[in-house]
């Protein structure tokens, strides 16, 4: 008898627990049905039901970690204003983004809104029919408020239809030099000593190392696995040969790639000299750009070179300890960063969405509410100059970096504005350029695996031009009206915004 009780008791308890749990589940389902849910989204859905509109959930994929706080704040405000809409925003890691979008396109499971990635440009998405025009999101007057060049063919616009909604200032990011004031002081130097020329950078690095007995280095720049050093060198190189665009090492005067431009070669030689004389922090060769930056933050090096966006990511409680300055150039001459209309931080509305109106409503809301927050927190300037002028940047380092960025960016020639057929060449060359990049060459040269850097860069130039010429030929063979002359802009004066 007792034995039976022992067996029965746990069974009864389990039954009671199961009933209780299923009871919870049952009441939860009822809650969903009747709008009495406790979750944030469900609450919104519930209120929506009360207000007579069907609850809507918008799924959004972005890949910009730096604005997570600002977009969440904006979404919260949006959901308060439109309680029937729930926005589920996910930041997809940059390394996985293309694969995830690829899989979603193949499986027809794209979210309602998703972010731009240069690997899958607007032209291709529009050709595939997976994004829809958003012409009615902004009026022509509103579009005119944006930076010049924002509404460029192939990027935000395809065949008169607008497809991408910009979130950040399109003229970004430029490369900036950041410094640690405490480390500078420890080296017995002042902000007046921050170098403006390459020779100055060399002398500065020597002084820092000597003055600190090798405890602190002058410069640290992480070169792997993702590196900005190629961007840094290409931007600095514009002070030597400005015809070669710092965006892609393409010479827009000759219409050809030129990785072996004197500016790039000399920039590489500068870093090699710093490396060989042990003036560049030795961990630079092993670290990613962000790990390198953290060494500057920790005071192990005075200087680092990073994107303009770094300012908003430095420790908030130590902002007084940092400063930002333009990159040094060969002889102190000006440099520039190139803008061609690509709006790298923008959102698309998927064609498959069942909530296109709500998605567009959300985009309009972002214009009014997200843009000022981005500027306020120094994440990035918004794509509207008036918003940027009217909003105070609350992060002083980000403010300095963004100011340097706005002074650095210049509108350069855009072949697709001259001939839209060149967009087909973009598609043809995409992903087919040599897999050995300038970043790889930098690593090989600094580690001593490449002896003759000029020869390697010449080979890279030749291979890139070969892919480019083959792409033009292929487009022509398929009936496209495009020629190499579409890429040569003899009337272009670098440093002056290009208007044909």
């Amino acid at each position: 008898m007792n034995r039976q009780k022992i067996v029965l008791l746990p069974l009864l308890l389990a039954l009671a627990l199961t009933t209780a749990l299923s009871g919870c589940s049952g009441s939860n389902s009822n809650a969903n049905k009747h709008g009495n849910a406790s979750g944030k989204g469900e609450a919104a859905a519930a209120t929506g039901a009360d207000s007579g509109k069907d609850p809507v959930t918008l799924e959004v994929w972005g890949r910009w970690e730096e604005m997570t706080s600002q977009i969440n704040e904006t979404i919260s405000e949006f959901q308060q204003q439109y309680p029937y809409i729930t926005v589920k925003y996910a930041t997809v890691p940059a390394a996985q983004y293309v694969a995830q979008v690829q899989a979603a396109i193949s499986g027809n499971t794209l979210p309602d809104l998703f972010g731009y990635n240069p690997a899958i440009p607007t032209t291709q998405l529009s050709n595939l029919g997976v994004i829809q025009p958003i012409n009615d999101v902004l009026t022509e007057e509103e579009k005119a408020e944006y930076y010049e060049g924002t509404w460029s063919q192939g990027y935000t616009v395809v065949n008169e239809d607008t497809y991408a909604f910009p979130l950040f200032n399109p003229m970004r990011p430029s490369m900036v030099m950041y410094y640690n004031k405490a480390a500078l002081k420890e080296a017995g130097l002042t902000e007046a000593d921050i170098p403006k020329t390459w020779e100055g950078l060399y002398e500065f690095s020597k002084k820092v190392k000597e003055n600190t007995g090798g405890k602190i280095y002058g410069l640290v720049v992480g070169i792997k696995p993702q590196s900005f050093l190629s961007g840094v060198i290409m931007q600095m190189a514009t002070a030597v040969k400005p015809e070669v665009s710092p965006a892609d090492s393409f010479n827009y005067k000759t219409g050809k790639y030129e990785f072996n431009s004197p500016g790039i070669v000399q920039g590489l030689e500068l870093f090699k000299k710093l490396q060989d004389e042990k003036l560049l922090h030795p961990n630079s060769l092993l670290m990613s750009y962000r790990e390198g930056t953290s060494m500057m933050e920790a005071g192990q090096a005075v200087l680092t070179m990073d994107g303009s966006f770094l300012g908003s990511q430095l420790s908030k409680d130590k902002l007084d300890n940092y400063g930002a300055a333009p990159l040094p150039t060969l002889d102190g001459k000006p440099q520039y960063a190139a803008f061609q209309g690509e709006s790298r931080v923008s959102l698309y509305v998927a064609k498959s969405t069942k909530h296109a109106e709500e998605a567009k409503l959300f985009l309009r809301f972002l214009k009014e509410h997200l843009y000022p927050k981005l500027v306020r927190d120094g994440i990035e300037y918004s794509p509207i100059p008036a918003v940027n002028e009217a909003t105070k940047v609350e992060n002083p380092i980000a403010e300095q970096a963004l100011k340097i960025q706005s002074e650095t960016f210049k509108l350069i020639p855009r072949p697709f504005e001259r001939n839209q057929e060149t967009l087909k060449v973009v598609v043809e060359t995409s992903g087919k350029m040599p897999k050995q990049t300038l970043s790889d060459v930098i690593e090989g040269y600094l580690t001593g695996q490449i002896q003759d850097v000029n020869q390697v860069l010449t080979q890279l130039t030749e291979e890139s031009n070969k892919v480019f010429e083959s792409a033009i030929e292929k487009v022509r063979s398929e009936g496209g009206n495009v020629s190499p002359s579409d890429y040569a802009f003899e009337d272009w004066h670098p440093f002056t915004p290009y208007h044909p």
Binding site: A95, A119, I120, Q124, N283, L285, L286, G431, M433
Partner: protein
């Protein structure tokens, strides 16, 4: 065939069906499709329109970067196998000694790296083998072996040595367990007889253990070699294939063409590279499988001998 037997067979197929379906969906189908993709210039998005025949294969075979990665794979596999097989065998012999106390604890300790995520190991070791203020350099400097920090991962040869050493360390416990399983499956009466005949420990190892373990050894060789062909996670996190492609491996090469092409993914090209690499592994497996067969034959003969 009786109804009962037919029903039994039907049930057997029913139980096997889920596995077949999953195998077909997640193994057979992707392999077949990679053969199809390799014949197209395809980005992985949109329809397969641009048939290019075998030109992806030709391009892969003509690409020196592919052969560099392939060579690195072979170097890694060779040294991983050559270094880990004898060392793990010795470790297994020691940990199989009955009088050794705490054997289980030692086995567990040696097995720990096997169950640790390779990517995490790569990240941690990257800092240990760093240049300035890194653990490994600091230890060597404090012991007076080095005068100044060495860039272990910034030099092509040293980076490969570190990668192989880490690979051996990571795999050590697994191969040792294989050896232990082999050792423990050997017939004890043979060893008792040898002991009675006055054979010493080393003679027993040389004339009994090693010949009897030969079939197991060839299987372990096969498994170790195949393991050495897939080092994606470790390489990605520890060296990133660098410096300047010195530790680049084929799976990393393929990954670059699919996910880090600097533009559209080149799925067709990457598929062709994957097929070439897959076929190479297959050829290697066949070769080593032949060895297993040969040594298995010896075992059968020796078994017959013992039986007779």
């Amino acid at each position: 065939m009786s109804f009962r037997r037919k029903r039994k067979i039907a049930w057997t197929y029913l139980f096997l069906a889920p596995q077949f379906v999953l195998l077909a969906a997640f193994t057979v189908y992707p392999i077949l499709m990679s053969y199809v993709y390799s014949l197209y210039d395809w980005s992985g998005i949109g329809p397969l329109n641009d048939f290019v025949g075998l030109s992806n294969f030709r391009a892969v075979l003509e690409d020196s970067s592919f052969w560099n990665a392939f060579r690195n794979n072979m170097i890694y596999m060779f040294f991983l196998t050559v270094l880990s097989l004898p060392t793990t065998f010795v470790a297994a012999l020691v940990l199989n000694l009955k009088f050794l106390r705490g054997r289980t604890a030692y086995r567990t300790l040696l097995f720990l790296p096997v169950v640790t995520t390779a990517a995490i190991i790569g990240i941690v070791l990257k800092f240990i083998f760093g240049n300035d203020n890194a653990l490994f350099n600091n230890v060597l400097i404090s012991l007076g072996i080095l005068k100044e920090p060495v860039g272990w991962l910034a030099d092509p040869t040293k980076a490969m040595i570190v990668l192989i050493a880490v690979g051996v360390w990571k795999l050590f416990g697994m191969i040792m367990i294989y050896w232990l399983a082999g050792l423990q499956s050997l017939p004890s009466e043979v060893f008792d007889a040898a002991k009675m005949d006055g054979a010493g420990y080393l003679a027993t190892v040389r004339y009994l253990t090693v010949p009897l373990l030969l079939p197991v050894a060839t299987v372990i060789l096969l498994l170790t070699a195949l393991n050495g062909m897939h080092v994606f996670d470790m390489v990605t996190t520890l060296t990133g294939g660098g410096p300047y492609f010195a530790t680049d491996m084929v799976d990393l090469y393929i990954y670059r063409y699919v996910f880090a092409s600097g533009g559209f993914p080149q799925m067709g090209y990457a598929s062709a590279a994957g097929i070439i690499f897959g076929l190479s592994i297959f050829a290697l497996s066949v070769l080593l499988g032949g060895l297993v067969r040969v040594s298995g034959g010896k075992k059968a003969k020796s078994d017959a001998g013992w039986g007779g």
